[in-house]
Protein backbone atom coordinates (compact mmCIF):
# COMPACT_ATOMS: atom_id res chain seq x y z
CA UNK A 1 0.00 0.00 0.00
CA UNK A 2 1.30 3.37 -0.94
CA UNK A 3 2.14 5.53 2.04
CA UNK A 4 0.06 8.56 2.64
CA UNK A 5 3.25 10.56 2.90
CA UNK A 6 5.06 9.58 -0.30
CA UNK A 7 4.02 12.77 -1.96
CA UNK A 8 6.08 15.88 -1.53
CA UNK A 9 4.51 17.81 1.30
CA UNK A 10 2.83 21.06 0.53
CA UNK A 11 4.92 22.71 3.18
CA UNK A 12 8.57 21.77 3.28
CA UNK A 13 9.29 22.89 6.79
CA UNK A 14 7.24 24.51 9.50
CA UNK A 15 8.55 27.94 10.32
CA UNK A 16 6.74 30.18 12.71
CA UNK A 17 7.50 33.81 12.07
CA UNK A 18 7.44 36.31 14.86
CA UNK A 19 3.97 36.88 16.22
CA UNK A 20 2.24 40.21 15.63
CA UNK A 21 1.50 41.88 18.92
CA UNK A 22 -2.07 42.36 20.05
CA UNK A 23 -1.38 46.03 20.50
CA UNK A 24 -0.42 46.25 16.84
CA UNK A 25 -3.91 45.37 15.62
CA UNK A 26 -4.59 47.16 12.36
CA UNK A 27 -7.33 49.66 11.93
CA UNK A 28 -10.60 48.45 10.38
CA UNK A 29 -10.42 48.09 6.63
CA UNK A 30 -6.67 47.95 6.50
CA UNK A 31 -4.77 44.78 5.63
CA UNK A 32 -3.94 42.58 8.57
CA UNK A 33 -1.40 39.82 8.59
CA UNK A 34 -1.11 36.55 10.40
CA UNK A 35 1.24 33.67 10.58
CA UNK A 36 -0.28 31.02 8.37
CA UNK A 37 0.88 27.48 8.66
CA UNK A 38 -0.15 26.82 5.07
CA UNK A 39 2.46 29.27 3.87
CA UNK A 40 4.79 29.47 6.80
CA UNK A 41 7.48 31.38 4.98
CA UNK A 42 5.31 34.46 4.88
CA UNK A 43 2.52 35.80 7.07
CA UNK A 44 -1.00 35.35 5.74
CA UNK A 45 -2.54 38.62 4.69
CA UNK A 46 -6.21 39.23 5.07
CA UNK A 47 -8.53 42.13 5.49
CA UNK A 48 -11.62 42.88 7.46
CA UNK A 49 -14.56 42.31 5.16
CA UNK A 50 -12.71 39.50 3.41
CA UNK A 51 -13.80 35.86 3.75
CA UNK A 52 -11.25 33.83 5.63
CA UNK A 53 -11.38 30.12 6.20
CA UNK A 54 -9.68 26.81 6.81
CA UNK A 55 -8.61 24.36 4.16
CA UNK A 56 -8.09 21.05 5.92
CA UNK A 57 -6.05 18.60 3.90
CA UNK A 58 -6.86 15.30 5.58
CA UNK A 59 -4.08 13.51 3.69
CA UNK A 60 -1.60 15.42 5.82
CA UNK A 61 -3.26 14.87 9.18
CA UNK A 62 -1.34 12.57 11.52
CA UNK A 63 -3.89 12.58 14.33
CA UNK A 64 -1.61 14.29 16.84
CA UNK A 65 -4.49 16.39 18.20
CA UNK A 66 -2.25 19.40 18.63
CA UNK A 67 -5.09 21.45 17.14
CA UNK A 68 -7.47 20.23 19.82
CA UNK A 69 -5.03 21.10 22.56
CA UNK A 70 -4.23 24.51 21.10
CA UNK A 71 -7.93 25.28 20.76
CA UNK A 72 -8.59 24.29 24.36
CA UNK A 73 -5.63 26.31 25.57
CA UNK A 74 -6.40 29.51 23.67
CA UNK A 75 -10.13 29.47 24.30
CA UNK A 76 -9.69 28.35 27.92
CA UNK A 77 -12.05 25.45 27.39
CA UNK A 78 -12.31 22.95 30.23
CA UNK A 79 -11.64 19.26 29.92
CA UNK A 80 -14.86 17.31 29.73
CA UNK A 81 -14.73 15.71 33.11
CA UNK A 82 -18.24 16.04 34.49
CA UNK A 83 -20.62 13.14 34.28
CA UNK A 84 -22.43 14.40 31.23
CA UNK A 85 -19.38 15.17 29.17
CA UNK A 86 -16.89 12.59 30.35
CA UNK A 87 -16.61 10.27 27.42
CA UNK A 88 -13.23 8.70 26.86
CA UNK A 89 -14.07 6.14 24.25
CA UNK A 90 -12.23 3.15 25.67
CA UNK A 91 -12.43 1.37 22.34
CA UNK A 92 -10.48 3.62 20.01
CA UNK A 93 -7.27 5.56 19.76
CA UNK A 94 -9.60 8.54 19.50
CA UNK A 95 -10.24 9.43 23.11
CA UNK A 96 -12.15 12.67 22.71
CA UNK A 97 -14.81 11.16 20.48
CA UNK A 98 -16.71 14.19 19.17
CA UNK A 99 -17.11 17.92 18.98
CA UNK A 100 -19.03 19.45 21.86
CA UNK A 101 -19.88 22.68 23.59
CA UNK A 102 -16.40 22.70 25.08
CA UNK A 103 -14.46 20.87 22.38
CA UNK A 104 -14.39 23.10 19.32
CA UNK A 105 -11.82 20.99 17.44
CA UNK A 106 -11.87 17.24 17.20
CA UNK A 107 -9.59 14.96 15.24
CA UNK A 108 -11.64 12.09 13.92
CA UNK A 109 -9.92 8.73 13.67
CA UNK A 110 -11.50 6.60 10.99
CA UNK A 111 -10.09 3.24 11.94
CA UNK A 112 -10.73 0.76 9.18
CA UNK A 113 -9.50 -2.55 10.54
CA UNK A 114 -11.11 -5.95 10.58
CA UNK A 115 -11.25 -7.64 13.97
CA UNK A 116 -10.87 -10.95 12.16
CA UNK A 117 -7.53 -9.82 10.78
CA UNK A 118 -5.27 -9.36 13.81
CA UNK A 119 -2.11 -8.56 11.83
CA UNK A 120 -3.90 -5.53 10.38
CA UNK A 121 -2.92 -6.19 6.79
CA UNK A 122 -4.96 -3.98 4.51
CA UNK A 123 -6.23 -1.78 7.30
CA UNK A 124 -5.91 1.97 7.36
CA UNK A 125 -6.43 5.06 9.43
CA UNK A 126 -7.99 8.18 8.04
CA UNK A 127 -7.56 11.28 10.16
CA UNK A 128 -9.59 14.43 9.89
CA UNK A 129 -9.49 17.49 12.10
CA UNK A 130 -13.15 18.43 12.32
CA UNK A 131 -14.51 21.83 13.22
CA UNK A 132 -17.44 24.15 12.55
CA UNK A 133 -17.71 24.60 8.80
CA UNK A 134 -18.58 28.32 9.03
CA UNK A 135 -21.07 27.76 6.21
CA UNK A 136 -21.85 30.69 3.95
CA UNK A 137 -25.49 29.65 4.36
CA UNK A 138 -25.43 28.54 7.98
CA UNK A 139 -28.30 26.47 9.37
CA UNK A 140 -27.54 27.46 12.96
CA UNK A 141 -27.57 31.15 12.14
CA UNK A 142 -30.77 30.74 10.18
CA UNK A 143 -32.82 29.14 12.96
CA UNK A 144 -31.38 31.01 15.98
CA UNK A 145 -34.38 32.91 17.40
CA UNK A 146 -32.39 35.34 19.56
CA UNK A 147 -29.88 36.67 17.06
CA UNK A 148 -27.08 35.28 19.23
CA UNK A 149 -25.47 33.65 16.19
CA UNK A 150 -24.03 36.24 13.85
CA UNK A 151 -21.70 36.53 10.89
CA UNK A 152 -18.52 38.43 11.55
CA UNK A 153 -16.65 40.86 9.36
CA UNK A 154 -14.38 37.94 8.43
CA UNK A 155 -17.39 35.94 7.10
CA UNK A 156 -17.16 33.48 9.97
CA UNK A 157 -20.08 32.33 12.12
CA UNK A 158 -19.89 33.41 15.74
CA UNK A 159 -22.03 32.71 18.83
CA UNK A 160 -22.51 35.64 21.21
CA UNK A 161 -22.69 33.71 24.45
CA UNK A 162 -24.15 36.59 26.41
CA UNK A 163 -27.12 36.73 24.04
CA UNK A 164 -27.77 32.97 23.68
CA UNK A 165 -30.53 31.72 25.98
CA UNK A 166 -29.89 28.02 25.50
CA UNK A 167 -32.96 27.08 23.41
CA UNK A 168 -30.81 24.55 21.49
CA UNK A 169 -32.49 25.09 18.15
CA UNK A 170 -29.06 25.63 16.58
CA UNK A 171 -28.05 22.14 17.75
CA UNK A 172 -30.89 20.68 15.70
CA UNK A 173 -30.38 23.10 12.83
CA UNK A 174 -26.71 22.35 12.15
CA UNK A 175 -26.36 19.67 9.46
CA UNK A 176 -22.94 18.71 10.76
CA UNK A 177 -23.69 18.08 14.43
CA UNK A 178 -21.17 20.71 15.41
CA UNK A 179 -22.97 22.63 18.15
CA UNK A 180 -23.63 21.52 21.72
CA UNK A 181 -24.36 23.23 24.98
CA UNK A 182 -21.53 24.18 27.29
CA UNK A 183 -21.56 24.01 31.09
CA UNK A 184 -23.22 27.42 31.30
CA UNK A 185 -26.22 26.20 29.32
CA UNK A 186 -25.45 28.18 26.18
CA UNK A 187 -24.37 27.03 22.74
CA UNK A 188 -20.70 26.44 22.10
CA UNK A 189 -18.70 25.93 18.93
CA UNK A 190 -15.59 27.13 17.12
CA UNK A 191 -15.28 30.92 17.26
CA UNK A 192 -12.71 30.87 14.46
CA UNK A 193 -10.56 32.52 17.13
CA UNK A 194 -12.41 35.76 16.48
CA UNK A 195 -10.27 37.52 19.05
CA UNK A 196 -7.11 36.39 17.27
CA UNK A 197 -8.44 37.44 13.88
CA UNK A 198 -9.12 40.91 15.23
CA UNK A 199 -5.51 41.05 16.34
CA UNK A 200 -4.24 39.80 13.00
CA UNK A 201 -3.32 36.38 14.29
CA UNK A 202 -3.79 32.93 12.79
CA UNK A 203 -6.38 30.79 14.62
CA UNK A 204 -4.75 28.68 17.29
CA UNK A 205 -5.46 25.32 15.66
CA UNK A 206 -3.89 26.26 12.32
CA UNK A 207 -0.99 27.83 14.18
CA UNK A 208 -0.35 24.60 16.06
CA UNK A 209 -0.83 22.11 13.22
CA UNK A 210 2.63 20.58 12.60
CA UNK A 211 1.90 19.18 9.15
CA UNK A 212 -0.06 22.07 7.60
CA UNK A 213 -3.10 19.84 7.41
CA UNK A 214 -5.05 22.84 8.70
CA UNK A 215 -4.34 25.81 6.50
CA UNK A 216 -5.68 29.28 7.18
CA UNK A 217 -6.14 32.22 4.86
CA UNK A 218 -8.50 34.07 2.56
CA UNK A 219 -11.00 31.58 1.16
CA UNK A 220 -10.27 32.45 -2.48
CA UNK A 221 -6.59 31.77 -1.91
CA UNK A 222 -7.31 28.53 -0.07
CA UNK A 223 -9.52 27.37 -2.92
CA UNK A 224 -6.70 27.80 -5.39
CA UNK A 225 -4.35 25.94 -3.07
CA UNK A 226 -6.90 23.14 -2.65
CA UNK A 227 -7.39 22.81 -6.41
CA UNK A 228 -3.64 22.50 -6.91
CA UNK A 229 -3.33 19.92 -4.15
CA UNK A 230 -6.22 17.88 -5.55
CA UNK A 231 -4.63 17.87 -8.99
CA UNK A 232 -1.34 16.82 -7.45
CA UNK A 233 -2.97 13.88 -5.67
CA UNK A 234 -4.99 12.76 -8.65
CA UNK A 235 -1.95 12.85 -10.90
CA UNK A 236 -0.26 10.64 -8.36
CA UNK A 237 -3.02 8.07 -8.77
CA UNK A 238 -5.02 8.83 -5.66
CA UNK A 239 -8.28 8.99 -7.55
CA UNK A 240 -10.48 8.87 -4.48
CA UNK A 241 -9.25 12.29 -3.43
CA UNK A 242 -11.95 14.96 -3.54
CA UNK A 243 -12.78 18.36 -2.16
CA UNK A 244 -15.69 18.72 0.23
CA UNK A 245 -17.47 22.05 0.62
CA UNK A 246 -15.15 23.96 -1.67
CA UNK A 247 -17.93 25.05 -4.04
CA UNK A 248 -21.04 27.15 -3.59
CA UNK A 249 -23.25 24.16 -4.33
CA UNK A 250 -22.85 23.04 -0.72
CA UNK A 251 -24.58 25.58 1.54
CA UNK A 252 -23.17 28.46 -0.45
CA UNK A 253 -19.69 27.08 0.19
CA UNK A 254 -18.03 26.07 3.42
CA UNK A 255 -15.49 28.53 4.75
CA UNK A 256 -13.93 25.52 6.41
CA UNK A 257 -13.61 22.97 3.64
CA UNK A 258 -11.79 19.69 3.23
CA UNK A 259 -9.74 17.50 1.02
CA UNK A 260 -10.88 13.93 1.65
CA UNK A 261 -9.52 10.59 0.51
CA UNK A 262 -12.83 8.76 0.55
CA UNK A 263 -16.56 9.42 0.50
CA UNK A 264 -17.84 12.10 2.89
CA UNK A 265 -19.87 9.53 4.81
CA UNK A 266 -16.67 7.62 5.54
CA UNK A 267 -15.62 10.66 7.55
CA UNK A 268 -19.04 11.12 9.13
CA UNK A 269 -19.92 14.03 6.90
CA UNK A 270 -23.32 14.32 5.26
CA UNK A 271 -23.24 13.76 1.53
CA UNK A 272 -25.82 16.47 0.81
CA UNK A 273 -26.30 18.82 3.76
CA UNK A 274 -29.13 21.30 3.52
CA UNK A 275 -30.52 24.32 5.29
CA UNK A 276 -33.33 23.73 7.78
CA UNK A 277 -35.49 26.26 5.92
CA UNK A 278 -35.60 23.92 2.93
CA UNK A 279 -38.47 22.17 4.73
CA UNK A 280 -40.37 25.35 5.56
CA UNK A 281 -42.55 25.72 2.43
CA UNK A 282 -43.77 22.12 2.58
CA UNK A 283 -44.43 21.95 6.30
CA UNK A 284 -45.90 25.46 6.32
CA UNK A 285 -48.16 24.65 3.38
CA UNK A 286 -49.38 21.41 4.92
CA UNK A 287 -49.99 23.19 8.22
CA UNK A 288 -52.04 25.78 6.38
CA UNK A 289 -54.10 23.11 4.63
CA UNK A 290 -54.64 21.38 7.97
CA UNK A 291 -55.78 24.66 9.54
CA UNK A 292 -58.31 25.21 6.76
CA UNK A 293 -59.58 21.64 7.11
CA UNK A 294 -59.88 22.01 10.87
CA UNK A 295 -61.78 25.25 10.39
CA UNK A 296 -64.23 23.77 7.90
CA UNK A 297 -64.79 20.67 10.02
CA UNK A 298 -65.37 22.90 13.03
CA UNK A 299 -67.95 24.96 11.15
CA UNK A 300 -69.76 21.83 10.03
CA UNK A 301 -69.89 20.53 13.59
CA UNK A 302 -71.05 23.85 15.05
CA UNK A 303 -73.68 24.72 12.47
CA UNK A 304 -75.48 21.40 12.39
CA UNK A 305 -77.53 21.89 15.57
CA UNK A 306 -77.48 25.65 15.64
CA UNK A 307 -80.50 27.41 17.14
CA UNK A 308 -80.33 31.15 16.55
CA UNK A 309 -83.12 32.69 18.56
CA UNK A 310 -83.25 33.10 22.32
CA UNK A 311 -86.74 31.62 22.39
CA UNK A 312 -85.66 28.49 20.58
CA UNK A 313 -82.73 28.16 22.94
CA UNK A 314 -85.07 28.39 25.92
CA UNK A 315 -87.34 25.81 24.33
CA UNK A 316 -84.43 23.48 23.71
CA UNK A 317 -83.52 23.64 27.40
Amino acid sequence: MRSLFNLPPLVEQQQIPAQPQVGDAPVPGSPVSATGTGTPAAPVSFQRGQSVGFFTDTTLCIGCKACEVACKEWNQLPAELDAKYFRLSGNSYDNTVALSGTTYRHVKFVEQFELSNPNRVGGRWLMMSDVCKHCVQAGCLEVCPTGAITRTEFDTVYIQKDVCNGCRYCVAGCPYGVIEMDQDGVAGKCTFCYDRLQAGLTPACAQACPTASIQFGPVSELQQRADARLLQLQQAGRTQARLYGRDEAMLGGLNSFYLLEDTPSTYGLPEAPHLPSRNLPATGGLGLVAAVLAGIAGVLAMRRRRIDSVEAAEEAR
Binding site: N91, S92, D94, V97, A98, K108, E111, G139, E142, V143, C144, P145, T146, G147, V163, C164, N165, G166, C167, R168, V171, A172, G173, C174, P175, G177, V178, E180, M181, D184, V186, Y267, G268, L269, P273, H274, P276, L280, T283, G285, L286, G287, A290, A291, L293, A294, G295, A297, G298, V299, L300, A301, M302, R304, R306, I307, D308, A313, A316, R317
Partner: protein, 297 residues
Protein backbone atom coordinates in the same frame (compact mmCIF):
# COMPACT_ATOMS: atom_id res chain seq x y z
CA UNK B 1 -14.28 3.00 16.50
CA UNK B 2 -16.32 4.64 19.26
CA UNK B 3 -20.01 3.77 19.34
CA UNK B 4 -21.14 7.32 18.66
CA UNK B 5 -18.54 7.97 15.99
CA UNK B 6 -19.54 9.80 12.84
CA UNK B 7 -22.63 11.56 14.03
CA UNK B 8 -23.81 14.01 11.42
CA UNK B 9 -26.23 15.40 13.94
CA UNK B 10 -26.41 16.06 17.65
CA UNK B 11 -29.69 15.80 19.50
CA UNK B 12 -30.85 19.02 21.17
CA UNK B 13 -31.92 17.19 24.34
CA UNK B 14 -35.43 18.57 24.24
CA UNK B 15 -36.79 16.57 27.15
CA UNK B 16 -39.88 16.41 29.33
CA UNK B 17 -40.31 20.18 29.65
CA UNK B 18 -40.61 20.42 25.88
CA UNK B 19 -42.98 17.44 25.74
CA UNK B 20 -45.15 19.28 28.25
CA UNK B 21 -44.78 22.57 26.39
CA UNK B 22 -45.78 21.02 23.08
CA UNK B 23 -48.70 19.22 24.73
CA UNK B 24 -50.12 22.16 26.66
CA UNK B 25 -49.42 24.54 23.78
CA UNK B 26 -51.58 22.33 21.56
CA UNK B 27 -54.26 22.01 24.22
CA UNK B 28 -54.56 25.74 24.83
CA UNK B 29 -54.53 26.52 21.11
CA UNK B 30 -57.28 23.95 20.62
CA UNK B 31 -59.30 25.22 23.59
CA UNK B 32 -59.33 28.76 22.25
CA UNK B 33 -60.08 27.58 18.72
CA UNK B 34 -63.08 25.60 19.99
CA UNK B 35 -64.29 28.53 22.11
CA UNK B 36 -63.93 30.90 19.17
CA UNK B 37 -65.81 28.57 16.85
CA UNK B 38 -68.59 28.28 19.45
CA UNK B 39 -68.66 32.08 19.58
CA UNK B 40 -68.64 32.54 15.83
CA UNK B 41 -70.71 29.60 14.59
CA UNK B 42 -72.54 28.29 17.64
CA UNK B 43 -75.76 29.47 19.21
CA UNK B 44 -76.80 30.97 22.52
CA UNK B 45 -76.68 27.64 24.33
CA UNK B 46 -72.96 27.36 23.52
CA UNK B 47 -72.00 30.54 25.40
CA UNK B 48 -71.34 28.65 28.64
CA UNK B 49 -68.78 26.36 27.02
CA UNK B 50 -67.22 29.34 25.24
CA UNK B 51 -66.76 31.07 28.59
CA UNK B 52 -65.09 27.99 30.08
CA UNK B 53 -62.72 28.00 27.10
CA UNK B 54 -61.85 31.63 27.72
CA UNK B 55 -61.31 30.91 31.41
CA UNK B 56 -58.81 28.11 30.82
CA UNK B 57 -56.95 29.19 27.65
CA UNK B 58 -54.96 32.00 29.25
CA UNK B 59 -53.82 30.07 32.37
CA UNK B 60 -52.81 27.21 30.09
CA UNK B 61 -50.70 29.43 27.85
CA UNK B 62 -48.97 30.79 30.95
CA UNK B 63 -48.28 27.24 32.03
CA UNK B 64 -46.97 26.36 28.56
CA UNK B 65 -44.68 29.38 28.51
CA UNK B 66 -43.40 28.42 31.94
CA UNK B 67 -42.41 24.95 30.68
CA UNK B 68 -40.65 26.54 27.73
CA UNK B 69 -38.74 28.99 29.91
CA UNK B 70 -37.70 26.37 32.45
CA UNK B 71 -36.22 24.30 29.64
CA UNK B 72 -33.87 27.06 28.48
CA UNK B 73 -30.21 26.84 29.40
CA UNK B 74 -30.47 30.45 30.59
CA UNK B 75 -34.13 30.87 31.61
CA UNK B 76 -33.79 34.54 32.61
CA UNK B 77 -32.93 35.36 29.00
CA UNK B 78 -36.25 34.07 27.66
CA UNK B 79 -37.12 37.58 26.50
CA UNK B 80 -34.22 37.49 24.02
CA UNK B 81 -36.61 35.57 21.77
CA UNK B 82 -38.97 38.53 21.57
CA UNK B 83 -36.76 41.60 21.96
CA UNK B 84 -33.27 42.38 20.75
CA UNK B 85 -31.20 42.06 23.90
CA UNK B 86 -28.90 44.96 23.08
CA UNK B 87 -31.55 47.21 21.54
CA UNK B 88 -34.47 46.69 23.89
CA UNK B 89 -37.38 47.19 23.19
CA UNK B 90 -36.76 46.63 19.48
CA UNK B 91 -38.40 43.30 18.59
CA UNK B 92 -36.55 40.41 17.01
CA UNK B 93 -38.46 38.45 14.41
CA UNK B 94 -37.16 35.90 11.91
CA UNK B 95 -40.13 34.54 9.97
CA UNK B 96 -38.05 31.75 8.44
CA UNK B 97 -37.18 30.43 11.92
CA UNK B 98 -40.21 28.61 13.36
CA UNK B 99 -38.98 29.20 16.90
CA UNK B 100 -38.88 32.94 16.32
CA UNK B 101 -42.25 32.70 14.59
CA UNK B 102 -43.55 30.68 17.54
CA UNK B 103 -42.40 33.34 20.01
CA UNK B 104 -44.49 35.86 18.08
CA UNK B 105 -47.45 33.46 18.00
CA UNK B 106 -47.15 32.90 21.76
CA UNK B 107 -47.08 36.64 22.33
CA UNK B 108 -50.15 37.33 20.17
CA UNK B 109 -52.04 34.36 21.57
CA UNK B 110 -51.16 35.46 25.10
CA UNK B 111 -52.56 38.96 24.51
CA UNK B 112 -55.77 37.74 22.85
CA UNK B 113 -56.44 34.98 25.36
CA UNK B 114 -55.80 37.48 28.17
CA UNK B 115 -58.49 39.81 26.81
CA UNK B 116 -60.98 36.95 26.62
CA UNK B 117 -59.93 35.74 30.06
CA UNK B 118 -60.54 39.17 31.62
CA UNK B 119 -63.91 39.37 29.87
CA UNK B 120 -64.84 35.93 31.19
CA UNK B 121 -63.78 36.72 34.76
CA UNK B 122 -65.02 40.30 35.12
CA UNK B 123 -67.92 40.39 32.70
CA UNK B 124 -68.98 36.75 32.57
CA UNK B 125 -68.23 36.98 28.81
CA UNK B 126 -70.95 39.55 28.33
CA UNK B 127 -68.80 42.58 27.49
CA UNK B 128 -66.19 41.81 24.85
CA UNK B 129 -67.74 38.51 23.86
CA UNK B 130 -71.40 39.46 24.08
CA UNK B 131 -73.33 37.64 21.34
CA UNK B 132 -73.53 40.62 19.00
CA UNK B 133 -70.31 42.51 19.72
CA UNK B 134 -68.32 42.68 16.46
CA UNK B 135 -65.07 43.48 18.31
CA UNK B 136 -65.48 40.26 20.27
CA UNK B 137 -65.91 38.37 17.02
CA UNK B 138 -62.71 39.90 15.67
CA UNK B 139 -60.90 38.90 18.86
CA UNK B 140 -62.28 35.37 18.45
CA UNK B 141 -61.05 35.17 14.86
CA UNK B 142 -57.60 36.41 15.86
CA UNK B 143 -57.44 34.02 18.79
CA UNK B 144 -58.59 31.07 16.68
CA UNK B 145 -55.96 31.78 14.05
CA UNK B 146 -53.29 32.17 16.74
CA UNK B 147 -54.55 28.98 18.39
CA UNK B 148 -54.28 27.02 15.15
CA UNK B 149 -50.81 28.45 14.58
CA UNK B 150 -49.80 27.63 18.14
CA UNK B 151 -50.93 24.03 17.77
CA UNK B 152 -49.24 23.56 14.39
CA UNK B 153 -46.03 25.56 14.62
CA UNK B 154 -44.43 23.12 17.06
CA UNK B 155 -44.57 20.48 14.34
CA UNK B 156 -43.08 22.91 11.83
CA UNK B 157 -40.37 23.73 14.36
CA UNK B 158 -39.42 20.06 14.54
CA UNK B 159 -39.49 19.67 10.78
CA UNK B 160 -37.37 22.74 10.04
CA UNK B 161 -34.09 21.30 11.27
CA UNK B 162 -31.63 18.56 10.44
CA UNK B 163 -32.57 15.87 12.96
CA UNK B 164 -33.50 12.41 11.70
CA UNK B 165 -37.27 11.73 11.74
CA UNK B 166 -38.17 15.36 12.56
CA UNK B 167 -36.44 16.79 9.51
CA UNK B 168 -37.61 13.99 7.25
CA UNK B 169 -41.36 14.55 6.98
CA UNK B 170 -43.23 17.81 6.41
CA UNK B 171 -46.41 16.25 7.82
CA UNK B 172 -45.49 17.04 11.42
CA UNK B 173 -47.10 20.49 11.36
CA UNK B 174 -50.45 19.07 10.19
CA UNK B 175 -50.18 16.17 12.61
CA UNK B 176 -49.54 18.42 15.61
CA UNK B 177 -52.24 20.84 14.51
CA UNK B 178 -54.96 18.19 14.33
CA UNK B 179 -53.74 16.59 17.54
CA UNK B 180 -53.56 19.96 19.33
CA UNK B 181 -57.07 20.96 18.27
CA UNK B 182 -58.47 17.55 19.23
CA UNK B 183 -56.83 17.71 22.69
CA UNK B 184 -58.13 21.25 23.13
CA UNK B 185 -61.68 20.19 22.33
CA UNK B 186 -61.21 17.22 24.64
CA UNK B 187 -60.07 19.50 27.46
CA UNK B 188 -63.13 21.68 26.92
CA UNK B 189 -65.40 18.63 26.96
CA UNK B 190 -63.78 17.54 30.19
CA UNK B 191 -63.96 20.88 31.99
CA UNK B 192 -67.19 22.35 30.64
CA UNK B 193 -69.62 20.07 32.41
CA UNK B 194 -72.64 22.32 32.98
CA UNK B 195 -73.38 22.92 29.35
CA UNK B 196 -76.20 21.98 27.02
CA UNK B 197 -76.24 18.51 25.52
CA UNK B 198 -76.20 20.00 22.05
CA UNK B 199 -72.93 21.78 22.88
CA UNK B 200 -71.42 18.47 23.93
CA UNK B 201 -72.68 16.92 20.73
CA UNK B 202 -71.15 19.69 18.64
CA UNK B 203 -67.80 19.50 20.40
CA UNK B 204 -67.81 15.70 20.20
CA UNK B 205 -68.52 15.83 16.49
CA UNK B 206 -65.76 18.38 15.95
CA UNK B 207 -63.40 16.19 17.97
CA UNK B 208 -64.33 13.21 15.81
CA UNK B 209 -63.24 15.08 12.71
CA UNK B 210 -59.95 16.15 14.30
CA UNK B 211 -59.13 12.68 15.61
CA UNK B 212 -59.91 11.18 12.23
CA UNK B 213 -57.69 13.75 10.47
CA UNK B 214 -55.01 13.04 13.06
CA UNK B 215 -55.12 9.32 12.31
CA UNK B 216 -54.81 9.88 8.56
CA UNK B 217 -51.97 12.36 9.02
CA UNK B 218 -50.16 10.05 11.44
CA UNK B 219 -50.26 7.19 8.95
CA UNK B 220 -48.99 9.44 6.14
CA UNK B 221 -46.28 10.82 8.44
CA UNK B 222 -44.99 7.38 9.34
CA UNK B 223 -45.16 6.20 5.73
CA UNK B 224 -43.29 9.27 4.50
CA UNK B 225 -40.28 8.54 6.69
CA UNK B 226 -39.13 5.59 4.60
CA UNK B 227 -35.77 4.19 5.62
CA UNK B 228 -35.39 6.75 8.39
CA UNK B 229 -38.63 5.62 9.97
CA UNK B 230 -37.55 2.02 9.76
CA UNK B 231 -34.32 2.81 11.54
CA UNK B 232 -35.60 5.18 14.22
CA UNK B 233 -39.21 4.08 14.82
CA UNK B 234 -40.13 0.68 13.44
CA UNK B 235 -38.25 -2.01 15.29
CA UNK B 236 -37.54 0.30 18.23
CA UNK B 237 -39.50 0.82 21.47
CA UNK B 238 -40.79 4.11 20.03
CA UNK B 239 -43.23 2.19 17.84
CA UNK B 240 -45.03 1.10 21.03
CA UNK B 241 -45.74 4.75 21.81
CA UNK B 242 -47.15 5.33 18.34
CA UNK B 243 -49.29 2.21 18.75
CA UNK B 244 -50.65 3.63 22.02
CA UNK B 245 -51.48 6.88 20.21
CA UNK B 246 -53.40 5.04 17.50
CA UNK B 247 -55.31 2.69 19.78
CA UNK B 248 -55.91 4.73 22.93
CA UNK B 249 -55.80 8.23 21.47
CA UNK B 250 -57.68 7.64 18.23
CA UNK B 251 -59.50 4.34 17.67
CA UNK B 252 -61.11 3.91 21.11
CA UNK B 253 -62.33 7.55 21.28
CA UNK B 254 -63.79 7.20 17.78
CA UNK B 255 -65.55 4.00 18.83
CA UNK B 256 -66.93 5.72 21.94
CA UNK B 257 -68.20 8.65 19.88
CA UNK B 258 -69.75 6.24 17.44
CA UNK B 259 -71.49 4.22 20.13
CA UNK B 260 -71.85 6.43 23.25
CA UNK B 261 -73.93 3.72 24.85
CA UNK B 262 -70.76 1.65 25.26
CA UNK B 263 -69.58 4.20 27.82
CA UNK B 264 -72.92 4.73 29.53
CA UNK B 265 -74.41 7.68 27.64
CA UNK B 266 -73.42 10.93 25.96
CA UNK B 267 -71.90 12.74 28.93
CA UNK B 268 -69.88 9.87 30.36
CA UNK B 269 -68.80 8.92 26.85
CA UNK B 270 -67.57 12.45 26.22
CA UNK B 271 -65.58 12.38 29.48
CA UNK B 272 -64.00 9.01 28.75
CA UNK B 273 -63.10 9.81 25.16
CA UNK B 274 -61.76 13.22 26.20
CA UNK B 275 -59.42 11.64 28.74
CA UNK B 276 -58.20 9.14 26.14
CA UNK B 277 -57.67 11.83 23.50
CA UNK B 278 -55.63 13.86 25.99
CA UNK B 279 -53.51 10.83 26.85
CA UNK B 280 -53.03 10.16 23.13
CA UNK B 281 -51.99 13.77 22.49
CA UNK B 282 -49.39 13.63 25.23
CA UNK B 283 -47.99 10.27 24.11
CA UNK B 284 -47.84 11.48 20.49
CA UNK B 285 -45.55 14.35 21.45
CA UNK B 286 -43.46 12.06 23.61
CA UNK B 287 -43.16 9.57 20.73
CA UNK B 288 -42.15 12.16 18.15
CA UNK B 289 -39.63 13.83 20.43
CA UNK B 290 -38.27 10.45 21.52
CA UNK B 291 -37.77 9.10 18.00
CA UNK B 292 -34.26 10.52 17.49
CA UNK B 293 -33.51 11.22 21.16
CA UNK B 294 -34.56 8.07 23.02
CA UNK B 295 -37.56 7.27 25.21
CA UNK B 296 -35.96 8.79 28.29
CA UNK B 297 -35.45 11.99 26.25
Amino acid sequence: MPPDFNPSYQVPNWGWWIVLYFFFGGVTGGVYFAAAWLDLFGDLRDRAAMRVGHLIAFPLILLSALFLIVDLGQPLRFWHMIFQSERFPEPIFKPYSPMSLGSGILFIFGVVSFLSFVDAVLGRSSLLHSPRNPIGKIVSVLGALAGLALAGYTGALLNVNNEPVWGDSPWLSALFLFSGISTGIAALLLLARRVASTTIEKLSEADNYMVLFELITLVVFLASLGAVGTRFIFGTPTIVLFAIVVVIGVLVPLAIHWRPGLAGGLRSASVLSAVLVLIGGFVLRWAVLAAPQGLGL
